[in-house]
Protein backbone atom coordinates (compact mmCIF):
# COMPACT_ATOMS: atom_id res chain seq x y z
CA UNK A 1 0.00 0.00 0.00
CA UNK A 2 1.33 3.48 -0.73
CA UNK A 3 0.77 6.83 0.89
CA UNK A 4 -0.99 7.82 -2.32
CA UNK A 5 -3.69 5.25 -1.86
CA UNK A 6 -6.64 5.83 0.47
CA UNK A 7 -7.64 2.82 2.57
CA UNK A 8 -10.06 1.94 5.34
CA UNK A 9 -7.74 3.14 8.11
CA UNK A 10 -6.94 6.30 6.12
CA UNK A 11 -10.62 7.22 6.18
CA UNK A 12 -10.68 7.31 10.01
CA UNK A 13 -9.60 10.38 12.01
CA UNK A 14 -6.08 9.69 13.38
CA UNK A 15 -7.01 9.32 17.06
CA UNK A 16 -9.76 6.78 16.31
CA UNK A 17 -7.55 5.01 13.80
CA UNK A 18 -4.84 4.51 16.43
CA UNK A 19 -7.43 3.27 18.90
CA UNK A 20 -8.84 0.75 16.41
CA UNK A 21 -5.34 -0.43 15.54
CA UNK A 22 -4.69 -1.34 19.18
CA UNK A 23 -7.51 -3.88 18.86
CA UNK A 24 -5.97 -5.54 15.78
CA UNK A 25 -3.82 -8.59 15.47
CA UNK A 26 -1.82 -9.45 12.39
CA UNK A 27 -2.81 -12.61 10.53
CA UNK A 28 -1.93 -14.28 7.26
CA UNK A 29 -3.93 -16.69 5.14
CA UNK A 30 -2.74 -18.98 2.36
CA UNK A 31 -4.24 -18.78 -1.13
CA UNK A 32 -7.58 -20.51 -1.71
CA UNK A 33 -8.57 -20.47 1.95
CA UNK A 34 -12.26 -20.17 2.83
CA UNK A 35 -12.38 -17.35 5.40
CA UNK A 36 -16.11 -17.39 6.06
CA UNK A 37 -19.34 -18.75 4.63
CA UNK A 38 -22.61 -17.04 3.83
CA UNK A 39 -24.91 -17.31 6.86
CA UNK A 40 -22.06 -18.00 9.30
CA UNK A 41 -21.54 -15.90 12.46
CA UNK A 42 -19.87 -12.55 11.73
CA UNK A 43 -17.63 -12.65 14.79
CA UNK A 44 -14.50 -11.14 13.20
CA UNK A 45 -13.55 -8.72 10.47
CA UNK A 46 -10.36 -7.75 8.68
CA UNK A 47 -8.55 -4.90 6.98
CA UNK A 48 -6.53 -6.41 4.15
CA UNK A 49 -2.86 -5.43 4.06
CA UNK A 50 -1.88 -7.40 0.97
CA UNK A 51 -3.41 -10.00 -1.32
CA UNK A 52 -6.89 -10.47 -2.74
CA UNK A 53 -10.10 -11.87 -1.31
CA UNK A 54 -13.09 -12.86 -3.45
CA UNK A 55 -16.62 -12.42 -2.08
CA UNK A 56 -19.03 -15.01 -3.35
CA UNK A 57 -22.59 -16.29 -3.26
CA UNK A 58 -23.44 -19.95 -3.50
CA UNK A 59 -25.61 -20.75 -6.49
CA UNK A 60 -27.03 -24.29 -6.82
CA UNK A 61 -25.57 -25.95 -9.89
CA UNK A 62 -22.94 -23.24 -10.33
CA UNK A 63 -21.01 -23.29 -7.09
CA UNK A 64 -19.57 -20.13 -5.59
CA UNK A 65 -20.22 -17.20 -7.95
CA UNK A 66 -17.74 -14.36 -7.31
CA UNK A 67 -19.50 -11.01 -7.00
CA UNK A 68 -16.60 -8.77 -6.01
CA UNK A 69 -12.91 -8.86 -5.11
CA UNK A 70 -11.24 -6.84 -2.35
CA UNK A 71 -7.57 -5.88 -2.11
CA UNK A 72 -5.00 -3.89 -0.17
CA UNK A 73 -6.36 -1.51 2.43
CA UNK A 74 -9.97 -2.63 2.05
CA UNK A 75 -12.36 -3.68 4.78
CA UNK A 76 -13.38 -7.32 4.65
CA UNK A 77 -16.73 -7.74 6.35
CA UNK A 78 -19.29 -5.30 7.73
CA UNK A 79 -22.04 -7.69 8.84
CA UNK A 80 -20.33 -7.82 12.27
CA UNK A 81 -21.58 -4.26 12.90
CA UNK A 82 -25.30 -4.86 12.40
CA UNK A 83 -27.64 -7.45 13.81
CA UNK A 84 -28.12 -10.37 13.32
CA UNK A 85 -24.30 -10.50 12.85
CA UNK A 86 -24.36 -13.11 10.11
CA UNK A 87 -22.35 -12.98 6.87
CA UNK A 88 -24.37 -12.08 3.78
CA UNK A 89 -21.67 -13.41 1.45
CA UNK A 90 -18.85 -15.94 1.60
CA UNK A 91 -15.15 -15.03 1.33
CA UNK A 92 -12.16 -16.93 -0.03
CA UNK A 93 -8.57 -15.82 -0.54
CA UNK A 94 -7.30 -15.76 -4.10
CA UNK A 95 -3.65 -15.06 -3.45
CA UNK A 96 -1.96 -15.28 -0.02
CA UNK A 97 -3.34 -12.54 2.23
CA UNK A 98 -1.96 -10.59 5.17
CA UNK A 99 -4.49 -8.65 7.20
CA UNK A 100 -5.35 -6.97 10.48
CA UNK A 101 -7.93 -9.11 12.21
CA UNK A 102 -10.45 -7.76 14.72
CA UNK A 103 -12.66 -9.50 17.22
CA UNK A 104 -16.15 -8.20 16.43
CA UNK A 105 -17.48 -8.41 19.99
CA UNK A 106 -14.49 -6.50 21.33
CA UNK A 107 -14.87 -3.71 18.74
CA UNK A 108 -18.63 -3.52 19.29
CA UNK A 109 -17.91 -3.20 23.03
CA UNK A 110 -15.51 -0.31 22.36
CA UNK A 111 -18.09 1.32 20.07
CA UNK A 112 -20.79 1.10 22.75
CA UNK A 113 -18.46 2.41 25.45
CA UNK A 114 -17.22 5.45 23.49
CA UNK A 115 -19.86 7.12 21.29
CA UNK A 116 -17.31 9.37 19.50
CA UNK A 117 -15.21 6.36 18.55
CA UNK A 118 -18.37 4.45 17.66
CA UNK A 119 -19.62 7.19 15.38
CA UNK A 120 -16.26 7.47 13.62
CA UNK A 121 -16.03 3.72 12.98
CA UNK A 122 -19.68 3.43 11.91
CA UNK A 123 -19.33 6.41 9.55
CA UNK A 124 -16.22 4.93 8.06
CA UNK A 125 -17.80 1.52 7.50
CA UNK A 126 -20.88 3.21 6.01
CA UNK A 127 -18.91 5.47 3.66
CA UNK A 128 -16.03 3.28 2.63
CA UNK A 129 -17.56 -0.15 2.57
CA UNK A 130 -21.33 0.13 2.31
CA UNK A 131 -21.77 3.41 0.37
CA UNK A 132 -19.02 2.80 -2.10
CA UNK A 133 -19.96 -0.81 -2.70
CA UNK A 134 -23.63 0.10 -3.10
CA UNK A 135 -22.72 2.68 -5.76
CA UNK A 136 -20.54 0.12 -7.49
CA UNK A 137 -23.28 -2.52 -7.38
CA UNK A 138 -25.78 -0.06 -8.87
CA UNK A 139 -23.41 0.78 -11.70
CA UNK A 140 -22.98 -2.88 -12.44
CA UNK A 141 -26.76 -3.35 -12.48
CA UNK A 142 -26.84 -1.00 -15.45
CA UNK A 143 -24.72 -3.48 -17.41
CA UNK A 144 -22.87 -0.53 -18.92
CA UNK A 145 -20.71 -2.54 -21.26
CA UNK A 146 -23.55 -4.61 -22.66
CA UNK A 147 -24.68 -4.04 -26.24
CA UNK A 148 -27.21 -1.21 -26.62
CA UNK A 149 -30.78 -2.44 -26.73
CA UNK A 150 -30.01 -5.69 -24.90
CA UNK A 151 -31.45 -6.74 -21.59
CA UNK A 152 -28.88 -6.47 -18.82
CA UNK A 153 -27.08 -9.75 -18.27
CA UNK A 154 -29.38 -12.06 -20.19
CA UNK A 155 -27.85 -10.97 -23.51
CA UNK A 156 -31.32 -11.32 -25.04
CA UNK A 157 -32.61 -8.63 -27.35
CA UNK A 158 -34.66 -6.07 -25.41
CA UNK A 159 -38.38 -5.67 -25.95
CA UNK A 160 -39.37 -3.10 -28.56
CA UNK A 161 -40.48 0.16 -26.93
Amino acid sequence: MTADRPDFFGALPPAHRDRLRTLAREVSFPAELRIFDEGGPADRFWVIRSGTVALDVYEPGRGAAVVETLGDGELLGWSWLFEPYHWHLGARTRAPVTAYEFDAEQVRGAIDADPAFGLAVTRCVAAVAIGRRLRAARLRLLDLYGAPGREPWTGAAGAAP
Binding site: T2, D4, R5, P6, D7, T52, A54, G63, A65, V66, V67, E68, T69, G71, D72, G73, E74, R94, R135, A136, L139, R140, L142, D143, L144, Y145, G146, A147, P148, G149, W153
Partner: protein, 274 residues
Amino acid sequence: MTAARPDLVPVPYRVAARTARTPDTADLVLDPVADALPPFAPGQFAMVYAFGVGDIPLSLSAQDGHRLTHTIRAVGAVSRALHGLWPGTTVGVRGPFGIGWEPPAVEGTDLLVVAGGLGLAPLRPLVRAVLAARPRYGRVAVLIGTRTPGDLLCTQDIEDWRAAGARVEVTVDRPDNAWQGDVGVVTDLLDRAEFAPRNAAAFLCGPEVMMRATARELVRRGLAPDRIQLSLERTMHCGTGHCGHCQLGPLLLCRDGPVVSWSHAEPLLLVREL
Protein backbone atom coordinates in the same frame (compact mmCIF):
# COMPACT_ATOMS: atom_id res chain seq x y z
CA MET B 1 0.42 11.13 -51.37
CA THR B 2 -2.16 12.84 -49.12
CA ALA B 3 -5.74 13.20 -50.41
CA ALA B 4 -7.00 16.69 -51.42
CA ARG B 5 -10.05 17.36 -49.10
CA PRO B 6 -9.96 14.33 -46.78
CA ASP B 7 -12.44 16.02 -44.42
CA LEU B 8 -15.12 16.23 -47.12
CA VAL B 9 -14.53 13.51 -49.69
CA PRO B 10 -14.20 9.87 -48.56
CA VAL B 11 -10.81 8.44 -49.49
CA PRO B 12 -10.86 4.80 -50.64
CA TYR B 13 -9.22 2.31 -48.27
CA ARG B 14 -9.11 -1.45 -48.70
CA VAL B 15 -9.69 -3.89 -45.85
CA ALA B 16 -6.31 -5.62 -45.45
CA ALA B 17 -7.27 -7.79 -42.49
CA ARG B 18 -10.14 -8.48 -40.13
CA THR B 19 -9.68 -10.00 -36.68
CA ALA B 20 -12.61 -10.93 -34.47
CA ARG B 21 -11.95 -9.67 -30.92
CA THR B 22 -15.16 -10.66 -29.17
CA PRO B 23 -18.45 -12.07 -30.50
CA ASP B 24 -19.63 -8.58 -31.55
CA THR B 25 -16.36 -6.71 -32.01
CA ALA B 26 -13.67 -6.93 -34.67
CA ASP B 27 -10.54 -5.05 -35.73
CA LEU B 28 -10.48 -3.84 -39.33
CA VAL B 29 -7.07 -3.01 -40.75
CA LEU B 30 -7.30 -0.56 -43.65
CA ASP B 31 -4.70 0.33 -46.30
CA PRO B 32 -5.11 3.27 -48.68
CA VAL B 33 -6.01 2.25 -52.22
CA ALA B 34 -4.04 5.26 -53.56
CA ASP B 35 -3.94 8.57 -51.65
CA ALA B 36 -3.72 8.37 -47.86
CA LEU B 37 -5.27 10.51 -45.13
CA PRO B 38 -3.00 12.77 -43.05
CA PRO B 39 -1.71 11.15 -39.83
CA PHE B 40 -4.12 10.83 -36.87
CA ALA B 41 -3.18 11.95 -33.36
CA PRO B 42 -4.19 9.54 -30.53
CA GLY B 43 -7.86 10.13 -29.69
CA GLN B 44 -8.85 11.59 -33.08
CA PHE B 45 -11.50 9.83 -35.14
CA ALA B 46 -12.45 9.08 -38.75
CA MET B 47 -15.81 8.94 -40.51
CA VAL B 48 -15.86 5.50 -42.11
CA TYR B 49 -18.28 4.84 -44.94
CA ALA B 50 -19.74 1.41 -45.71
CA PHE B 51 -20.74 1.99 -49.32
CA GLY B 52 -24.47 1.85 -49.85
CA VAL B 53 -25.20 1.84 -46.09
CA GLY B 54 -23.77 5.00 -44.50
CA ASP B 55 -20.88 6.41 -42.51
CA ILE B 56 -20.15 6.50 -38.77
CA PRO B 57 -17.49 8.00 -36.52
CA LEU B 58 -14.83 5.52 -35.44
CA SER B 59 -11.77 6.23 -33.34
CA LEU B 60 -8.44 4.97 -34.46
CA SER B 61 -7.26 2.07 -32.38
CA ALA B 62 -3.87 1.81 -34.09
CA GLN B 63 -1.90 3.51 -36.85
CA ASP B 64 1.15 2.14 -38.61
CA GLY B 65 2.37 4.46 -41.35
CA HIS B 66 -0.63 4.89 -43.67
CA ARG B 67 -2.26 1.73 -42.29
CA LEU B 68 -5.26 2.39 -40.01
CA THR B 69 -6.88 0.02 -37.54
CA HIS B 70 -10.41 0.49 -36.22
CA THR B 71 -12.04 -1.63 -33.54
CA ILE B 72 -15.72 -1.88 -34.41
CA ARG B 73 -18.62 -3.11 -32.35
CA ALA B 74 -21.70 -4.13 -34.32
CA VAL B 75 -24.63 -2.23 -32.77
CA GLY B 76 -26.69 -0.99 -35.76
CA ALA B 77 -26.91 -0.83 -39.53
CA VAL B 78 -23.58 0.83 -40.39
CA SER B 79 -21.42 -0.66 -37.66
CA ARG B 80 -22.82 -4.11 -38.48
CA ALA B 81 -21.99 -3.64 -42.17
CA LEU B 82 -18.41 -2.55 -41.38
CA HIS B 83 -17.95 -5.24 -38.74
CA GLY B 84 -18.91 -7.88 -41.32
CA LEU B 85 -16.48 -6.78 -44.07
CA TRP B 86 -13.85 -9.19 -45.34
CA PRO B 87 -10.34 -8.45 -46.66
CA GLY B 88 -10.36 -6.99 -50.14
CA THR B 89 -13.51 -4.87 -49.66
CA THR B 90 -13.23 -1.11 -50.16
CA VAL B 91 -14.56 1.50 -47.71
CA GLY B 92 -14.44 5.32 -47.76
CA VAL B 93 -12.66 7.14 -44.96
CA ARG B 94 -12.68 10.85 -44.04
CA GLY B 95 -10.54 12.45 -41.35
CA PRO B 96 -8.67 12.97 -39.13
CA PHE B 97 -11.28 14.78 -37.04
CA GLY B 98 -11.41 16.39 -33.64
CA ILE B 99 -9.12 17.02 -30.73
CA GLY B 100 -7.36 13.99 -29.29
CA TRP B 101 -5.68 13.16 -25.99
CA GLU B 102 -3.17 15.67 -24.68
CA PRO B 103 -0.46 14.03 -22.56
CA PRO B 104 0.93 16.39 -19.91
CA ALA B 105 3.91 18.55 -20.83
CA VAL B 106 5.41 18.31 -17.34
CA GLU B 107 7.96 15.51 -17.11
CA GLY B 108 7.47 12.92 -14.36
CA THR B 109 3.67 13.23 -14.21
CA ASP B 110 1.88 10.03 -13.11
CA LEU B 111 -0.60 8.86 -15.74
CA LEU B 112 -3.86 7.03 -15.20
CA VAL B 113 -5.62 5.56 -18.21
CA VAL B 114 -9.09 4.27 -17.37
CA ALA B 115 -11.02 2.30 -20.00
CA GLY B 116 -14.45 0.72 -19.91
CA GLY B 117 -15.47 -1.85 -22.53
CA LEU B 118 -14.84 -0.67 -26.08
CA GLY B 119 -13.35 2.54 -24.60
CA LEU B 120 -10.01 0.76 -24.57
CA ALA B 121 -9.77 1.10 -28.36
CA PRO B 122 -9.41 4.92 -28.57
CA LEU B 123 -6.99 4.82 -25.63
CA ARG B 124 -4.70 2.26 -27.27
CA PRO B 125 -2.76 4.77 -29.42
CA LEU B 126 -2.30 6.99 -26.35
CA VAL B 127 -0.90 4.14 -24.24
CA ARG B 128 1.43 3.14 -27.05
CA ALA B 129 2.67 6.73 -27.50
CA VAL B 130 3.19 7.14 -23.76
CA LEU B 131 5.08 3.86 -23.41
CA ALA B 132 7.24 4.72 -26.42
CA ALA B 133 8.37 7.75 -24.38
CA ARG B 134 8.24 5.94 -21.01
CA PRO B 135 11.07 7.87 -19.26
CA ARG B 136 9.18 11.17 -19.69
CA TYR B 137 6.42 10.05 -17.32
CA GLY B 138 6.10 8.97 -13.72
CA ARG B 139 4.03 5.91 -12.86
CA VAL B 140 1.73 4.71 -15.66
CA ALA B 141 -1.39 2.73 -14.77
CA VAL B 142 -3.90 1.34 -17.24
CA LEU B 143 -7.15 0.31 -15.55
CA ILE B 144 -9.63 -1.67 -17.60
CA GLY B 145 -13.22 -2.59 -16.80
CA THR B 146 -15.06 -5.05 -18.98
CA ARG B 147 -18.23 -7.08 -18.91
CA THR B 148 -16.87 -10.63 -18.94
CA PRO B 149 -13.38 -12.09 -19.40
CA GLY B 150 -14.35 -12.98 -23.00
CA ASP B 151 -15.11 -9.30 -23.77
CA LEU B 152 -11.59 -8.17 -22.97
CA LEU B 153 -10.01 -6.48 -25.99
CA CYS B 154 -6.29 -6.24 -26.72
CA THR B 155 -5.05 -9.14 -24.58
CA GLN B 156 -1.68 -9.17 -26.34
CA ASP B 157 -1.33 -5.38 -25.84
CA ILE B 158 -1.90 -5.85 -22.14
CA GLU B 159 1.11 -8.18 -21.90
CA ASP B 160 3.20 -5.79 -24.01
CA TRP B 161 2.22 -2.79 -21.87
CA ARG B 162 3.15 -4.60 -18.68
CA ALA B 163 6.50 -5.53 -20.20
CA ALA B 164 7.01 -1.88 -21.19
CA GLY B 165 6.59 -0.70 -17.60
CA ALA B 166 2.88 0.05 -17.17
CA ARG B 167 0.79 -1.29 -14.34
CA VAL B 168 -2.23 -2.86 -16.04
CA GLU B 169 -5.21 -3.98 -13.97
CA VAL B 170 -8.38 -5.57 -15.29
CA THR B 171 -11.70 -6.03 -13.55
CA VAL B 172 -14.80 -7.74 -14.90
CA ASP B 173 -18.46 -7.31 -14.02
CA ARG B 174 -19.24 -10.96 -14.53
CA PRO B 175 -16.49 -13.55 -14.05
CA ASP B 176 -16.53 -17.08 -15.39
CA ASN B 177 -15.19 -19.96 -13.30
CA ALA B 178 -11.70 -19.67 -14.79
CA TRP B 179 -11.29 -15.94 -14.04
CA GLN B 180 -8.74 -15.33 -11.30
CA GLY B 181 -8.60 -11.54 -11.61
CA ASP B 182 -10.61 -8.72 -10.05
CA VAL B 183 -14.39 -8.53 -10.02
CA GLY B 184 -16.11 -5.16 -9.65
CA VAL B 185 -16.36 -1.73 -11.23
CA VAL B 186 -13.37 0.00 -12.77
CA THR B 187 -13.39 2.76 -10.12
CA ASP B 188 -12.42 0.08 -7.56
CA LEU B 189 -9.17 -0.39 -9.47
CA LEU B 190 -8.14 3.15 -8.51
CA ASP B 191 -7.17 1.56 -5.18
CA ARG B 192 -4.66 -0.60 -7.02
CA ALA B 193 -3.02 2.26 -8.92
CA GLU B 194 -0.27 4.32 -7.37
CA PHE B 195 -0.33 8.01 -8.19
CA ALA B 196 0.31 11.35 -6.58
CA PRO B 197 -3.00 13.18 -7.10
CA ARG B 198 -1.34 16.60 -7.37
CA ASN B 199 1.09 15.36 -9.97
CA ALA B 200 -1.14 13.12 -12.07
CA ALA B 201 -3.23 13.28 -15.22
CA ALA B 202 -6.07 10.93 -16.15
CA PHE B 203 -7.56 9.80 -19.47
CA LEU B 204 -10.99 8.18 -19.48
CA CYS B 205 -12.97 6.45 -22.20
CA GLY B 206 -16.02 4.23 -21.91
CA PRO B 207 -19.74 4.53 -21.18
CA GLU B 208 -20.57 8.04 -20.00
CA VAL B 209 -21.90 6.84 -16.64
CA MET B 210 -18.62 5.05 -15.99
CA MET B 211 -16.59 8.13 -16.94
CA ARG B 212 -18.67 10.39 -14.68
CA ALA B 213 -18.23 8.01 -11.73
CA THR B 214 -14.49 7.74 -12.37
CA ALA B 215 -13.95 11.48 -12.81
CA ARG B 216 -15.81 12.22 -9.57
CA GLU B 217 -13.80 9.63 -7.70
CA LEU B 218 -10.55 11.06 -9.06
CA VAL B 219 -11.55 14.58 -8.01
CA ARG B 220 -12.42 13.23 -4.56
CA ARG B 221 -8.92 11.79 -4.41
CA GLY B 222 -7.40 15.17 -5.24
CA LEU B 223 -6.94 15.31 -9.02
CA ALA B 224 -7.69 18.72 -10.53
CA PRO B 225 -10.71 18.57 -12.89
CA ASP B 226 -8.72 20.12 -15.73
CA ARG B 227 -6.21 17.26 -15.53
CA ILE B 228 -8.89 14.69 -16.29
CA GLN B 229 -9.64 14.18 -19.98
CA LEU B 230 -12.53 12.13 -21.32
CA SER B 231 -13.69 11.15 -24.78
CA LEU B 232 -17.37 11.91 -25.33
CA GLU B 233 -19.67 10.43 -27.92
CA ARG B 234 -22.62 12.08 -29.59
CA THR B 235 -24.27 11.31 -32.91
CA MET B 236 -22.12 12.68 -35.72
CA HIS B 237 -22.87 13.39 -39.30
CA CYS B 238 -20.53 15.83 -41.05
CA GLY B 239 -17.50 15.64 -38.75
CA THR B 240 -16.53 19.16 -39.82
CA GLY B 241 -18.47 21.41 -37.45
CA HIS B 242 -21.26 22.28 -39.91
CA CYS B 243 -24.36 20.17 -39.27
CA GLY B 244 -24.73 20.58 -35.48
CA HIS B 245 -25.59 16.90 -34.84
CA CYS B 246 -22.82 16.49 -32.28
CA GLN B 247 -23.67 19.56 -30.20
CA LEU B 248 -23.12 19.43 -26.43
CA GLY B 249 -24.08 22.86 -25.08
CA PRO B 250 -21.59 25.33 -26.59
CA LEU B 251 -19.37 22.53 -27.93
CA LEU B 252 -19.46 20.76 -31.27
CA LEU B 253 -17.82 17.52 -30.27
CA CYS B 254 -16.54 16.67 -33.76
CA ARG B 255 -14.53 19.91 -33.69
CA ASP B 256 -14.07 20.83 -30.00
CA GLY B 257 -13.88 17.16 -28.85
CA PRO B 258 -14.28 14.25 -28.71
CA VAL B 259 -11.66 14.61 -25.96
CA VAL B 260 -12.60 17.31 -23.45
CA SER B 261 -11.53 18.04 -19.91
CA TRP B 262 -13.76 17.16 -16.96
CA SER B 263 -13.77 20.83 -15.95
CA HIS B 264 -15.51 21.62 -19.28
CA ALA B 265 -17.60 18.47 -19.48
CA GLU B 266 -19.03 18.18 -15.97
CA PRO B 267 -21.48 21.11 -16.07
CA LEU B 268 -22.63 20.11 -19.55
CA LEU B 269 -23.16 16.45 -18.69
CA LEU B 270 -25.32 17.43 -15.73
CA VAL B 271 -27.84 19.08 -18.07
CA ARG B 272 -30.23 16.48 -19.39
CA GLU B 273 -31.03 16.31 -23.08
CA LEU B 274 -27.87 18.20 -24.06
